[in-house]
């Protein structure tokens, strides 16, 4: 599917990440050190780069700054064992598009890479339609088929986020960051309860489910006019 470069010095971690991403159909190359990673990053075109914050030889942030300085806009996700929020801000300032603190679930990483690869094309669109779902962001209303949905503002935002990414797996952490716009790890069941409510509203008239749980990772919205 996508051509990815992983720059990570810990071999065991790298093997797990490689195995997982390859299992999801990505072509992933691995560099174990900073200078080597920088060389490979510039030598070829990549769909996305996943790099560790601390690397031997050349640390991840300097590497990223070098790439960005050279005009390389390849989406980059920074991995770090440092969970400090300032660290995160530093990572994003250096040109990272996303930041994931270790330890993380492999599913979370895959979902975030997916999110980087498939950024919504036009976020200014205010009338969204996915299968039988339809929302009008200006009027603040949602419809399924011909039925009006009684959605709270937050539920509308949540649905919008999912509808902009049909078929894409979004994790709980991503939802919390992007829909609630706060940054910490809430108990996972809180997001699930919100999703459950939204789901019930979407399926109130006996329609087939459109939001599906992805075990151990998060959720995905599947258009109901396509076969799953």
């Amino acid at each position: 599917m996508a051509k990815l470069l992983l720059i990570e010095d810990d071999a065991a971690t790298a093997q797990e990440i490689l195995g997982d991403l390859r299992g999801r159909g990505h072509a992933v190359a691995w560099a174990a050190a900073g200078p080597e990673g920088a060389e490979r990053a510039t030598a070829e075109a990549w769909d996305a780069i996943v790099l560790d914050r601390m690397l031997p030889g050349l640390d991840g942030l300097s590497l990223l700054q070098g790439l960005r300085g050279a005009g390389d806009r390849t989406p980059a996700l920074v991995l770090s064992a440092l969970s400090d929020v300032d660290e995160r801000i530093r990572g994003l300032r250096a040109g990272g598009d996303d930041y994931l603190a270790k330890p993380f679930a492999l599913g979370e990483l895959a979902a975030r890479i997916e999110a980087l690869l498939r950024r919504p094309a036009d976020t200014r669109e205010t009338l969204l339609r996915v299968g039988s779902l339809e929302i009008d962001l200006i009027a603040g209303i949602g419809r399924r088929g011909g039925r009006d949905l009684d959605l709270l503002p937050r539920e509308l935002t949540l649905l919008e986020y999912l509808m902009r990414r049909p078929g894409q797996v979004v994790t709980r952490a991503l939802l919390f960051e992007e829909v609630w716009n706060y940054r910490f790890t809430p108990k996972s069941n809180l997001i699930d309860v919100h999703l459950g409510r939204l789901r019930r509203k979407l399926e109130a008239a006996g329609e087939p489910p459109v939001i599906h749980s992805v075990r151990g990772i998060g959720f995905t919205l599947t258009p109901d006019d396509e076969p799953r």
């Binding site: 598009d97 935002t157 409510r197």
Partner: protein, 489 residues
């Protein structure tokens, strides 16, 4: 002795002694100079008046000069009337002093004086004026008197300087060695602390001087260090203990599955359960690290004006479905005008703190009960209040619940309730912000937890900055700026 010379206190004492000697010198110099010039001017004035009087009446000049000379028994008055040819007509000066201008002004000149045994040369103060007949009248006075005063003063000062120097030097030494003695005691105590005896304290005197204040501050610091060390120790124990439980379960589960699982589905189930337990332990480790991070105050840099109204409403909204599922009524009450003045803080952390307070309240409220989340506006602070209709917190536990890993009795009795990290995190966030957090009793007997957020003074730039921040971020981020949450700032 070299030790003493090297000590700062001694050098200070020496410096002060030298400075006081310098001051004394300067002061004496001034007094001396003033005295001498006063005496000189006084004498000069007398001479000027006398010579003018003598010159005014040329006929009586000689008599006046003789009177002037006779006025003094100690032979310190001199005078003379000289004719046009320089011949002496009267007085006790042998000749007209050489170089004396006839302008009536006093000057110091050499003169020859007639005494009973003959004549002698001496330095005198003299004035001269011309007489109408071409002669000169001279009035003079001995210089010895002023010279004597000068010499005496100088000698007195010289003699006084020696004891002054000795005294100030001695005082300096005394001060220095006293300070050194006090420091030596302090140093000894500190050395013991450095060797690891954290219970040792510095001696504090009764004078309440800067040494005492310093010692008291160091002692306070040591108290804090000791408290933290104790906390670290108990946290370490608690972490180890709380980690062991899920890890033991995990190990047992893996072992059992390895032996007994028959199908892929059974293995999957075991692995999923294992992952859940690992996530639980990781969440705990992350929380401990986060408390540490927050307590180190690393995040103050991220402070900005925060709209509490929004945080309180959004946190309550976030928990509403969970509360509803549990059969707990969650109500939000924001005072009219509350939160209009923004407070300085970290919005993510404050949201987390409010979330933890609500989470805690929902957790301990039985089905059918209620939780009230409020933002109350006081004169100088906005107060975030979370009340529940649960069993309440016994007074003895009200401060301890904010300690890390402290699990209230009621929590231990309720199975499946997380670790005592939630309120510990609230306390850490509150400490970072300098907001007092307190537990009390709600009107219905349940728990009432409050977070007091002082509002900065109205002139504070925070208010203006918030206005700008609100204008930029008023739209729900998900709609117009779906990725705005990712922006570095």
């Amino acid at each position: 002795m070299t030790d003493l010379l090297r000590s700062t206190t001694f050098r200070w004492a020496l410096g002060i002694a030298l400075w006081s000697v310098l001051l004394a010198l300067a002061m004496f110099g001034f007094v001396y100079w003033q005295t001498v010039s006063f005496l000189r001017e006084e004498l000069a004035e007398t001479l000027r008046l006398e010579v003018r009087a003598a010159a005014e009446d040329p006929a009586a000049a000689s008599a006046r000069v003789e009177t002037w000379i006779a006025m003094d028994r100690h032979a310190t008055h001199y005078g003379g009337v000289f004719g046009r040819d320089g011949r002496r007509l009267a007085g006790n000066l042998v000749g007209l002093p050489a170089g004396l201008a006839r302008d009536g002004d006093a000057e110091r000149v050499g003169a020859t004086i007639e005494v009973s045994e003959g004549s002698l040369g001496d330095e005198i103060w003299a004035t001269a004026l011309a007489l109408p007949d071409g002669g000169t009248v001279v009035i003079g006075h001995d210089t010895d008197e002023i010279d004597r005063v000068r010499a005496t003063t100088l000698r007195a000062f010289g003699l006084g300087l020696v004891p002054a120097l000795a005294l100030s030097g001695l005082g300096g030494l005394l001060l220095a060695s006293r300070a050194r003695r006090r420091l030596a005691v302090t140093e000894a105590a500190l050395a013991e602390v450095m060797r690891g005896d954290l219970r040792r304290r510095l001696p504090v005197g009764s004078r309440d001087d800067e040494f005492d204040r310093l010692a008291r501050n160091v002692n306070r610091m040591l108290d804090e260090v000791e408290r933290l060390m104790g906390e670290v120790r108990s946290v370490g124990d608690a972490v180890a203990h709380d980690l062991r439980t899920p890890l033991t379960r995990l190990r047992a589960r893996l072992e059992r599955s390895r032996e007994q699982a028959r199908s892929v589905a059974e293995f999957r189930e075991a692995i999923d359960q294992g992952l859940a337990w690992i996530d639980q332990t990781l969440a705990m480790v992350t929380a401990v690290l986060r408390i540490g991070e927050i307590e180190h105050g690393l995040r103050r840099a991220g402070f900005a004006p925060v709209d509490l109204t929004r945080i309180v409403r959004e946190a309550a909204e976030f928990f509403e479905p969970v509360a509803e599922d549990k059969g707990v009524a969650l109500a939000v009450a924001v005072d009219e005008g509350a939160g209009r003045s923004p407070v300085e803080g970290d919005r993510d952390l404050l949201f987390e703190a409010v979330s933890n307070l609500i989470d805690n309240a929902v957790k301990f409220t039985p089905a059918g009960g209620s939780v009230r989340v409020g933002l109350e506006q006081g004169p100088a602070a906005s107060v975030i209040v979370v009340e529940d209709s649960g069993p309440g917190i016994p007074p003895a536990e009200r401060t301890r619940i904010f300690q890390r890993f402290y699990r209230a009795e009621r929590a231990r009795q309720t199975p499946g309730n997380g670790l005592g990290l939630g309120l510990g995190l609230v306390a850490a966030i509150a400490r970072l912000h300098g907001f007092p957090v307190e537990a009390g009793k709600a009107p219905g007997g349940g728990a009432r937890l409050t977070l007091v957020c002082p509002v900065p003074a109205p002139t504070d730039p925070a208010r203006r900055r918030l206005a700008v921040a609100q204008a930029g971020a008023s739209a729900p981020a998900g709609i117009l700026q779906p990725r705005s949450g990712r922006d570095p700032l």
